[in-house]
Symmetry: C2
Subunit: 324 residues, 2 copies
């Protein structure tokens, strides 16, 4: 679930009085999401999402995220829009946390991915990439390749007692991936821009078979555009059985290239980007798995799911292994 | 949080096709609640709550709960109403669980209780009791006094290692409370009827300072009406500091007696009923505290809060100790 912080009645009332969005009708915590506390807020004027930003979000970066969401919407990408208060501010404080109200997006995220979700996903991802090109401020990817060795080091001992042999396997994967990473050493860099960096199925809403919007931009950053595709290959294309669904991958790429054709270098880099994406989610899940206290509100996700995905990518030499 | 079971897209779509409530617009898990999985469901026709009943609810009792909610609404008590499908059924199955759709109640539950909440609460509780008198089917209170010794026995050893001395304190409290319980031995019984039995602040909605509805009837049962008041004294009248707020208690009773004046025997029984109510919540919290596995979705509530409440009630000899 994702309600880490509760809000006093008077605090909420006073907070809402700062906005011109009517008076409170309903207010409930939202179960989805793991990083921040989210509430569905209904007022006499409509529906909104109230987000309290919890510890893992760097408050100084929030204006960058909110600015990106506003920019993307102006460029035609449907995503939550920060609502400004009477003084024009979108970022405030509530219950001792940074807080923002955003618009409510209709739609339902797919609990089970089907082929028909994947082409619209690819199109939406490419549109996000094109729309982001005119958003000038940059945010480095704090969970990019420079962070992985440190993440592994911080949980090496605990990792090996929980998952014998895992640390060595990750050392090998890191040693193979980092030197081959675009922009490192002789490897050419790839087109960069604003990426979502966490576009899992629960961040993509569909309505009547159409993609209706993207949410949760709080891992967005400035990085290789093709890396966002590699994240989607990890997040959308593995069956429960662990098998890679090459049809889904092809549909994502078909949709993407309708909007933004890949450069050859991006296509060729896909195996290493996919390894990197698997390492990024594996390492943060492993860290959370080993460091989540008993009784925590959020159950950590099993890192071994990503070990299997990493192994698939380590064995995949060319983009044709992904169907394109 | 309270989403124990997720629902496949096709399962949800097929389920909703059985109803005449429009097509799906939005679907999110609700963080509040600990017993069942609840989802806020928006369709083209409006807003609803979809509940999947989890293990602790006895499926054979669900028609009693849903029938009570329908009956109370006909008698003027605002509470969620089961929505019948095209075949007239209110109780169905989804994702392997019993499932029901109910209406969406506007309102916000009070995060911090204030005096002005308490009189409307008392009125609403008395109205519920009067309305319930014409609902004939009975449901025994499975968490009533007959259950307490067994609950304590089932966690005696673990309880004493987690909270040294607690088991002996609870033995003493049980030995003092059970023989004095209304209807036991020479103690006269009290007026009985349908009670909510779990009317904590998060089950009472307010809108613009008025009480707008009661929710979560899945502990409701047939028991002494005054016991429901005793539960509210426990649930609404203790400050964070542990102090008993006698103003709140008086306001609850004032509101209650506007609608249904107490009999003398009910008033006199209040200390023993309040002890019993504290024991009931203490014992189930203790059980959950000791038996919730690591990594569970719901963090168990600290049972010691109720030890302090129990001690207050053990030291309270007459109803005047509660301000009435």
């Amino acid at each position: 679930m994702a309600v880490y912080t509760d809000i006093g009645d008077e605090d909420l009332r006073a907070f809402l009085e700062g906005f011109s969005i009517g008076t409170l009708v309903s207010f409930r915590g939202i179960a989805e999401g793991v990083e921040n506390s989210n509430f569905h807020l209904r007022t006499t004027e409509g529906d909104f999402i109230l987000t309290l930003y919890e510890k893992r979000v760097n408050a100084t970066e929030l204006p960058w995220f909110l600015g990106l969401m506003q920019h993307l919407a102006r460029e035609g990408v449907t995503c939550p829009q920060p609502v400004a208060d009477r003084q024009g501010r979108t970022l405030l404080e509530l219950a001792g946390r940074p807080a923002a109200i955003t618009t409510f997006l209709p739609g339902v995220w797919p609990r089970s991915v089907r082929s028909e979700h994947c082409r619209p996903l690819g199109r939406a991802l490419a549109r996000l990439h094109l729309a982001g090109r005119s958003y000038a401020p940059e945010r480095p990817n704090s969970l990019g390749p420079n962070a992985w060795a440190g993440l592994l080091q911080s949980c090496r001992a605990a990792a090996d007692s929980a998952f014998p042999g895992l640390a060595a396997e990750l050392d090998t994967a890191l040693a193979a991936t980092l030197p081959a990473w675009p922009g490192h050493g002789q490897t050419p860099a790839l087109p960069r821009g604003q990426i979502h960096a966490d576009l899992f199925p629960d961040n993509v809403f569909f309505l009547d078979h159409d993609l209706s919007g993207l949410i949760d931009f709080y891992f967005a950053c400035t990085d290789f555009l093709a890396y966002d595709i590699a994240i989607c290959l990890n997040a959308w294309c593995f069956e429960q059985s662990g098998a890679f669904n090459i049809t889904f991958a092809r549909q994502i790429m078909l949709g993407y290239e309708e909007v933004r054709p890949l450069e050859d270098a991006e296509r060729h880099a896909m195996p290493v980007l996919a390894r990197g994406a698997a390492l990024r989610f594996l390492l943060t899940r492993l860290y959370d798995w080993l460091n989540t206290p008993e009784g925590a509100l959020v159950t950590p996700k099993d890192p071994m799911e990503y070990v299997r995905r990493l192994r698939f990518h380590m064995a995949t030499e060319t983009a044709s292994g992904y169907g394109f």
